[in-house]
């Protein structure tokens, strides 16, 4: 246990949390947690803008990527980890809570469903002679919402991407691809929802004489956070006299990687209208200070 616990140290920003430059989420904390291999860094992870590898970019910026395994040591001396973060959603704001104690971070499965129908003329083809892949995609989107709403607590499902081909106003879409993002605190429940939506798409496609196929992309298991730290945070939040709640994080955070090695938890403070990843992102300084206070008092109680 370190002698002095400074807020700055515990909040040490991981190098790449957002995953935009290399299309890899949580890259810095995954390196620290040993969740990558050297081939990823040397070849597979490439910058979106210029296609150069992470390795080349790190060297150009004056770092020594060949020593990447040594990063893991920065976790060696830690007996606990707490990450304070804005919520990036509206749950705290809408429920009137000023602090959220995070006891689990949702795992996620990313994938694609591609539906193959037939591109025919919009005027010449009667409704009952069509193989419209966009209709199956639309049905699948609506079904995913139903599945997520009726699934276990904290499960969410999203279709963020769609490509309908050929994409002309007077042509029936012959092929449509949609992305899937399914998250939740319970991995078997996520797998069940993904299996259910893939099965639904196949049946909905077959019912219209089409074929649908699911292909997995990236996935990360759910992370249950350390009960002792969670209890300490809840106690400190209660002692603050301000309204708080215990919740899961739907978004992925660096803590997911750190928690593989170190007992960890997270604390959320509200952000205005849940807005994040835009210049309109804003949290009240007083809420930030309250979060720091709760964290500090929890750490004092733990050590």
């Amino acid at each position: 246990v370190p002698e002095r616990l400074s807020i700055d140290r515990e909040r040490s920003a991981a190098r790449i949390g957002e995953g935009s430059g290399f299309a890899q989420m949580l890259l810095g904390s995954r390196i620290v947690a040993g969740r990558v291999d050297e081939e990823d860094l040397r070849g597979r992870f490439r910058a979106i803008d210029d296609g150069r590898s992470f390795w080349e970019h790190a060297e150009a910026a004056g770092y020594e990527p060949s020593r990447w395994r040594e990063c893991a040591r920065i976790l060696d001396d830690l007996s606990g980890w707490i990450e304070l973060h804005i919520e990036q959603a509206r749950v705290l704001q809408d429920t009137g809570h000023r602090v959220g104690v995070v006891n689990a971070i949702a795992g996620y499965v990313h994938g694609d469903i591609t539906i193959d129908g037939r591109a025919d003329h919009a005027g010449a083809t009667p409704m009952d002679m069509r193989s419209d892949s966009a209709v199956v995609a639309a049905e699948t989107i609506v079904e995913l919402e139903r599945l997520a709403r009726s699934a276990g607590a904290g499960v969410v499902g999203t279709v963020g991407e769609i490509e309908a081909h050929p994409g002309a106003i007077n042509v029936i879409a012959g092929r449509t691809r949609i992305s899937l993002d399914v998250r939740g605190p319970d991995d078997p429940e996520i797998a069940r929802v993904v299996g259910a939506i893939a099965g639904f798409a196949e049946r909905a496609a077959a019912a219209r004489g089409q074929a649908a196929s699911y292909v997995a992309r990236q996935s990360l298991p759910a992370t249950l956070l350390d009960p002792a730290i969670v209890v300490a945070l809840e106690a400190a939040a209660r002692d603050s006299g301000e309204p708080y709640m215990t919740m899961i994080s739907g978004a992925a955070h660096d803590t997911m990687c750190v928690a593989q090695r170190v007992p960890s938890a997270m604390l959320f403070v509200p952000c205005r209208d849940g807005l994040s990843h835009t210049p309109a992102e804003h949290a009240e300084p007083a809420d930030g200070a309250l979060g720091a206070e709760v964290m500090f008092n929890a750490i004092r109680a733990l050590v």
Binding site: A124, T125, P126, A134, I141, T158, I169, R217, L275
Partner: protein
């Protein structure tokens, strides 16, 4: 009585195709030298028919006239122009079929005058304005709206047509061509799957669909796919998907109606966020104007109800609105009887695509015959129809022309 020779029509189509196509398909783009070669071929064929005279009108339409006892005229129409890399039958079947009917009719005196017309620029593939020659004849062409159209090379329509002796501003004078016309008949490949699915070679066209085309903007608010619970979302894409299904279900529950959403675009369009904005297209078609209006009203209502349920708004932008054009009821009856006789069985079906007959139907009694398309494919080199069906379709056009002439001659 000499009947139109279907086999000769097929041979003529093969000959025309060989002269005006390459390995990618037919290249009879209007106002190009290849189109000119197609017309030269047609003129050579017409020159072999005794008593037939040929001229080109102010709109660039080519007319062949077989004078009869009366100046009242039955017109058989088609178009030799094709899309780039097009098929061998679209438009050309109508012209070559009519050519063989004219050749047969010319062997005996006719009570009415018969004319064949090769409409100029049906496809609009070069300048983007389709039904050019037929709309000039029907009186629906506004020269001011087309002179400044340009092709891919930046050449202006007015300049290109001037090279073919057509003064854009005088094109509406082509209305004079229809002064004595009492019926307009057109044979065409179906370009769709209906006849093939029904197992029938020929059908009678009820008219061309009216079209309502709109662009719809659904707006909610995008946010993180992980951190936002399902019940706090304003997912514009979900509102659009539910609406598109409602549009489709509405059309599927009606007779002879279509609804298609062919374009969908989402923003931000990334896997880890639900979408705050979604744009979709809606293309609705129906043969009955009241039905088409009902469909539009029902779609608007559904999109607004669903948007409200999803915490979103929806905005409609009209893109295109054309009313349905039904064909002549009496000609439909007669054509149905002819097809029944020639093919053993007939069916009446709407046309999804626009045709020159759509323009003519506005001003003279009109009907079309469809012959089945293999796989419903058109506008590509793969466009095809069995030769036996083609021969049958020319026979049906021949009988319909004779039936129409005989019927109208006694009025």
């Amino acid at each position: 009585m000499v009947r139109a020779d279907g086999a000769r029509a097929v041979a003529g189509l093969r000959d025309l195709g060989a002269r005006t196509s390459d390995e990618r398909g037919a290249q009879r783009l209007a106002w190009t030298s290849t189109w000119g070669e197609a017309r030269a071929w047609l003129r050579d064929e017409l020159a072999q028919i005794e008593g037939v005279s040929v001229r080109v009108d102010v709109a660039g339409n080519l007319w062949a006239m077989l004078p009869g006892a009366s100046s009242r005229t039955v017109v058989l129409g088609g178009h030799l122009d094709s899309v780039p890399n097009g098929g061998w039958l679209d438009g050309a079947l109508n012209v070559v079929g009519a050519l063989e009917v004219l050749r047969a009719l010319a062997t005996a005196p006719q009570p009415l005058t018969v004319r064949l017309v090769d409409w100029a620029d049906e496809e609009g593939a070069r300048f983007g304005r389709s039904l050019l020659g037929s709309s000039a004849c029907a009186g629906t062409l506004d020269p001011g709206s087309i002179c400044d159209l340009t092709d891919a090379q930046g050449i202006r329509l007015a300049g290109a047509l001037a090279e073919w002796g057509v003064d854009v501003h005088r094109m509406p004078e082509a209305c004079a061509e229809r002064s004595d016309v009492v019926a307009y008949l057109e044979l065409h490949i179906e370009q769709g799957p209906v006849l093939e699915r029904l197992g029938l070679p020929l059908g009678v066209v009820l008219g061309t669909f009216g079209v309502q085309r709109h662009r719809l903007w659904f707006r909610g608010a995008h946010a993180h796919a992980g951190s936002t619970p399902m019940d706090l979302r304003r997912d514009a894409f979900l509102a659009a998907a539910r609406s598109a299904i409602a549009f489709r279900d509405d059309a599927a529950g009606r007779v002879e109606a279509r609804a298609t959403t062919g374009i969908v675009q989402v923003s931000p369009g990334i896997v880890t966020a639900f979408n705050g904005a979604c744009e979709i297209s809606l293309d609705q078609r129906a043969l009955d104007d009241t039905v088409l209006r009902e469909m539009l009203a029902s779609a608007r209502q559904a999109s607004e109800r669903i948007s409200a349920e999803e915490g979103c708004t929806v905005e409609w932008q009209p893109l295109l609105e054309t009313p349905p054009v039904p064909f002549d009821a009496e000609l439909i009856e007669r054509a149905d009887a002819v097809v029944d006789r020639v093919a053993g069985s007939s069916v009446r079906l709407p046309s999804g695509a626009l045709h020159d007959a759509t323009e003519m139907a506005r001003v003279v009694p009109t009907v079309m015959l469809f012959v089945r398309s293999i796989g419903g494919i058109s506008h590509t080199a793969a466009e095809d129809t069995d030769e036996a069906d083609l021969e049958l379709s020319v026979r049906a056009l021949d009988e319909l022309a004779r039936d129409t002439i005989a019927r109208l001659a006694v009025r």
